[in-house]
Symmetry: C2
Subunit: 139 residues, 2 copies
């Protein structure tokens, strides 16, 4: 059955038309532990820049620079209200990264299938290599 839901149509459109530059920015944004930590905390709720910078072992300007990298990848949105800069996670671009990875799922699944077989063989109790022929040799 072909799924024609708006969600699938949007995802297909995203996959077919996603610019290479967009994926560059998303993957680059995810390639630093401080930026992944920021996303992890924003997933629980909005925080301002001071709150976000506090637990990171770096200067405020350094933390702010990481937030800008996340903004360029459209993974974080900054809502400015007076002197408060509130940050919010925008997880939708991660669906694009996920769609890109999906192409390779078949390959790593095959890797795991082979590993599963190997582990099952190792787990099963040791048996004589060929019980039939061993039996045949009994008097």
């Amino acid at each position: 059955m072909v799924d024609n839901s708006p969600r699938v149509a949007i995802l297909n459109h995203m996959v077919q038309n996603r610019s290479s530059r967009t994926l560059d920015r998303i993957f680059h944004a995810l390639a630093h532990p401080a930026r992944r930590a920021i996303l992890h905390r924003l997933a629980r709720g909005e925080q301002n820049l001071t709150q976000l910078a506090a637990p990171l072992r770096m200067s405020f300007p350094a933390a702010s620079k990481h937030v800008r990298v996340l903004e360029r990848a459209r993974l974080v949105r900054r809502l400015v209200s007076g002197r408060t800069h509130l940050c919010r996670i925008e997880a939708r671009p991660l669906a694009e990264a996920d769609a890109w990875l999906e192409t390779y799922r078949r390959i790593w699944e095959q890797n795991f299938d082979r590993l599963d077989e190997l582990l099952e063989e190792m787990k099963s109790p040791q048996k004589p290599t060929n019980p039939q022929s061993a039996k045949g040799k009994q008097p």
Copy 2:
């Protein structure tokens, strides 16, 4: 039902123990169109360095450098046989990137749910805003 298959045990172990540095390397490797193009071609089969470099609009040393970035992320394995350097995709680290993204799936799915509702509303034929009250106003 709890899935206790070796595959799930391995994936859980990977997610819990994956080093931050490993994820840095994987996401950094994916953050360049030339490196994604190399993976795309290796997904169809092994190629040597000359074959990989040919369609990339860059020098052979530049292409070779991109392959090294993929090797550091353990996404590509180089099999040296005499003067031939055959490259093979190793997709398993992509499962780690996928497992990291999985944590955020709930958030982007919620985004899409809201978008689905909006699109369905836009698709449905326009109705009077409040037919009941309009009827009541008729003489």
